[in-house]
Symmetry: C2
Subunit: 230 residues, 2 copies
């Protein structure tokens, strides 16, 4: 029986942009698990997952339901220990928590300043209303004013990724010689703008662009299986 | 035979402030290895280590000499596999390289703006001349002008540590339930200002301060065995 994944979608159901859902999709593929994806709009999450969570990802595996991308990765590692490891040992799991903390604070913050309105624009009407209200409250300003002058904030985002460039001088993946969940954490976060926005965030010759391109090719080009923003 | 460690010192030989040497001292203690430290001024490094390196740390272990804190940690892990692990597996080693990349870019950069003149002031005369010339060239300004107005840059340093605070909500160490080399990487970097500067970098109730205090107590209070700045 495949694992059911509730996966955030835009007005176009094929457009899957949640950074946290992408982390889980890559983790499920890494573990060679069959997946049945259910396209889930923001405002339908609670109803679709039977009330267990107001955010996605949520997975159902046999009789278990798990939410939160980190908890899902840990669940998969513990439940399927004979499949390829997501962490490469206990030290890797602990350090991946730091990678997650770094991405979710530093990188998300810098990105939020750049693509919030683009996310809004790909949503259906009910989701747009929810998204505008919740995000304008969080950022303390309108989506339109966040959008204006974003070119001037691009440099902050690019600089935030400097530690990744430094690491890539020494090894091709966060996981070392091969990708691990730590790679999927940042991958999911950069897949997010790729799917929602045509705003060019990174230069073509940036080592992070090269790494991201390699991530897109993993698991039979899984990352390509959603349309990129035009 | 103890491992010989060439350890950077100030005009007062007891003042050991190198972030990279501290990483290695903690790693040697973690591996329960005996150590013979040799206090090494900046301008005596090459001569004292027999020409193999112009930077410390350098260790001599039996007939082998290794420089660079990362390479030393990897050497210790591979040479003493039966002692407590520094990485907690291959995934931990790979992810620790990201932690190092993050600390060496983001945290060092923010710190460099705050304590460069303090470092200068604890050095002997020959080291002061070398340090002033090399650092003023690197930063493109005088040590005095870097020093002025540093209060205004303190907030940038504190914000740079936000991912650590986020991680500490979930686990007590980078290593998870117990410290690993990834902890020693950031510890060494924060030990550096503690030894050279009385400038108060972190609030007492900052979770990073609490974590740093626990690091100081490790390995029989090793981190306390150098005088803190008055």
């Amino acid at each position: 029986m495949p694992v059911v994944l509730y996966d955030l979608c835009g007005a176009d159901e094929a457009r899957r942009f949640s950074p946290y859902c992408w982390r889980v999709k890559m983790a499920l593929a890494h573990k060679h698990l069959g997946v049945e994806e259910r396209a889930t709009p923001f405002t339908k999450i609670r109803e679709m997952v039977g009330g267990v969570s107001s955010t996605v990802p949520v997975i159902s595996d046999e009789d278990r339901t798990i939410s939160d991308s980190w908890d899902i990765a840990v669940y998969l590692e513990e439940t399927y220990p004979d499949r390829p490891s997501l962490f490469g040992g206990e030290g890797g799991r602990a350090a991946a928590k730091f990678v997650e903390s770094w991405v979710n604070t530093t990188v998300h913050f810098a990105l939020g300043n750049l693509v919030m309105k683009d996310i809004h624009d790909i949503l259906g009407p009910d989701d747009q209303a929810y998204f505008r209200e919740s995000r304008e409250k969080r950022f303390g300003t309108t989506l339109e004013s966040l959008h204006e002058g974003r070119e001037a904030r691009l440099d902050t985002f690019r600089k935030a990724l400097q530690p990744v460039r430094q690491m890539l001088k020494n090894q091709p993946w966060f996981g070392g010689d091969a990708p691990l969940f730590a790679d999927y954490i940042l991958f999911g976060t950069l897949q997010w703008p790729r799917v929602v926005s045509s705003f060019r965030l990174l230069e073509d010759d940036d080592p992070v662009t090269e790494w991201f391109g390699r991530c897109l090719e993993l698991h039979n080009h899984l990352g390509h299986k959603t349309p990129a923003a035009a």
